[in-house]
């Protein structure tokens, strides 16, 4: 298989396989949670569960003062790499063209130098959270194989994408191929790991908010 054949395979059939695993996996896992349902609450409602649920989805986007003070580093580095990851994923022109082609929707891109800088900051933040995880005794104790795997598959697309954009390390075409492959690895690992929090966090927040809202408790 020549390099261009490999490249076209990675852009074609390999991406189809990764998409299949990703979408089937995510849909199955979300539906499993939803279909299982929750125990019926027979108590008289003191407030609106739905409003509480929806409010909590938003309110938990912002860290409360106590958490921010207790683990300042985790909160800040965590926000930086999450926002940075999403910005590079969603606002880089070639990525938007991919979404336009596969989902039929597009939106304006950010200037390339902005994406470039964001990627660097995100990479630094990701390295910082890894170092912190290893150095912090409690975090290290709580971390298992999956935590490091998830870190790696998140880090690789950013790193290879950065290299591909600057056309360094490998020849450009090979680097783009490695970049797409790393994204496919991310997609394949996604449904089976903690990466599912991308979707389940909204369900968890809604459930928590719903319980509290129904009881008339502010969250």
């Amino acid at each position: 298989m020549s390099e261009i054949e490999l490249f076209n395979w990675i852009r074609g059939p390999a991406l189809q396989i990764a998409t299949l695993i990703f979408v089937v996996g995510v849909v199955v896992r979300i539906l499993e949670v939803l279909v299982l349902g929750r125990k019926q609450d027979l108590s008289e409602a003191r407030g609106s569960g739905v409003a509480g649920g929806l409010r909590t989805i938003i309110s938990r986007m912002f860290p409360d003062r106590g958490t921010l003070q207790r683990s300042t580093f985790n909160v800040i580095a965590g926000y930086v790499f999450h926002v940075g990851f999403l910005v590079t994923l969603l606002f880089y022109t070639p990525h938007i063209l991919l979404f336009r082609d596969s989902l039929g929707v597009s939106w304006p891109a950010l200037p390339t130098p902005v994406i470039d800088a964001t990627a660097v900051v995100t990479l630094i933040a990701l390295i910082a959270v890894l170092v912190h995880r290893i150095q912090h005794k409690v975090m290290r104790f709580l971390s298992g194989f999956q935590d490091y795997l998830v870190w790696l598959v998140t880090f690789l697309p950013l790193l290879t994408g950065y290299f591909a954009f600057h056309r360094v390390v490998l020849d450009p075409q090979a680097m783009i191929a490695v970049h797409i492959l790393s994204v496919e690895l991310f997609m394949v690992v996604f449904p089976f790991t903690k990466l599912m929090h991308t979707f389940t966090l909204f369900m968890a927040r809604y459930y928590n908010g719903h319980i509290a809202g129904r009881r008339g408790v502010k969250t």
Binding site: S2, I4, F7, R11, L34, P94, A109
Partner: protein, 363 residues
């Protein structure tokens, strides 16, 4: 023209000045990324070189490569250098036809056995031999017969180098490249649809000067000409870096000469000399004319997902895959969820309450 003339003599006979010849040698040296001091060496070698016998075989091709190499550049010194090789067989260009033409090929082969250069354009059908024949000889047989006595083979054009357009999906003729079929001879791939004229003359000049084939990349292309991507040498590159793209062929961006990435430019993954050597005696190249690079010097460029689809878009129908995946996922998810619910209910039903008596039994 007599075959015994050296290239130098032949050029003088044709009225090419010494100055014009040296300019060509200097240009060839710089194009091959050789130090300027090599220009006189090239000149000396070309002066003395006997015009090598060249047999040109055309298989499943469109004659575009011959057009590129001969007609459009024939007034230039490159064209003359090309004339001054002894082109003993080329069924489009030679005057002889029919049996006489084939006789010329056989004679050239016998006279220069082991020393002639074989140039091939077009791919070779490996399916039915009748798909493409010359004088009743199948392309495959003619290639094998002629390659056997060649010193080196130059595959001109993407069809000869990688199968090209005849090889495009679903490849009805079983088209193959020269390197797919011949493995015991040095092969230089000069891909392009068509290739740049001076690239082929540069490759021949290198062979005549050094008696060796130039340094090749992993796709068998001379590194001197195919060492850099179009994107890396593109004059529109600053617009790519700034994120300024033409969205359509006639919008403001297109008029301002912004990057053609969104219109499907394959420059980032294409290796060729177009952006530096350019075409039509250095006039321009496709991107300069406002059209994205098609990636014609790369294998399977015809099957790369569409000329006007951006490089970052998938070559397969991901939308359809995703739609099917949602369907399959929903079915599987609901089925698994239902099973889990059943299990949950069964567990609740089978749950036995522990009484004080049960706990005391164990004592």
């Amino acid at each position: 023209m007599s075959k015994d003339l050296t290239i130098g003599e032949a050029l003088r006979q044709r009225g090419v000045s010494r100055r014009g010849f040296l300019k060509f040698c200097a240009a060839t040296a710089s194009m091959m990324a050789l130090p300027p001091g090599m220009a006189p060496v090239i000149a000396a070698a070309l002066e003395k070189a006997r015009r090598p016998s060249v047999i040109w075989l055309s298989f499943q091709e469109c004659t575009g490569c011959t057009e590129s190499l001969t007609r459009s550049h024939s007034p230039t010194v490159e064209g003359l250098i090309f004339d001054t090789i002894s082109l003993d067989y080329h069924h489009t260009l030679q005057a002889a036809a029919g049996d006489a033409a084939e006789a010329a090929r056989v004679a050239a082969m016998e006279e220069n056995y082991g020393n002639y250069i074989l140039v091939v354009d077009g791919s070779i059908p490996t399916g039915n031999p009748g798909f493409s024949t010359i004088a009743g000889i199948s392309n495959l047989d003619m290639l094998r017969e002629t390659a056997a006595g060649a010193a080196a083979i130059v595959s001109v054009g993407t069809c000869a180098a990688y199968g090209g357009i005849p090889h495009a999906n679903p490849n009805p003729t079983g088209a193959a490249s020269v390197s797919d079929l011949v493995s015991d001879k040095p092969i230089i791939n000069v891909p392009g649809c068509p290739p740049i004229p001076v690239v082929i003359t540069g490759v021949l000049a290198h062979y005549l000067t050094f008696g060796t084939i130039p340094e090749l990349d992993d796709l068998g292309r001379p590194r001197a000409h195919y060492g850099q991507s179009i994107h890396d040498r593109c004059y529109r590159r600053p617009f790519y870096d700034k994120g300024l793209f033409a969205e359509t062929f006639d919008d403001e961006g297109a008029k301002k000469g912004w990057c053609l990435y969104k219109l499907g430019c394959k420059g980032p993954t294409t290796y060729n000399a177009c952006a530096t050597t350019k075409w039509n005696e250095g006039t321009s190249f496709p991107i300069e004319s406002g059209h994205p690079c098609l990636g014609c010097s790369e294998p399977d460029f015809w099957d790369g997902g569409g000329f006007y689809k951006a490089l970052s878009t998938p070559t397969a129908d991901i939308t359809r895959t995703a739609v099917y995946a949602v369907g399959a996922g929903a079915a599987a998810g609901i089925a698994l969820g239902a099973m889990n619910r059943t299990k949950q209910k069964r567990m609740a039903k089978e749950h036995e309450k522990v009484t004080i008596d049960d706990l005391e039994k164990g004592d």
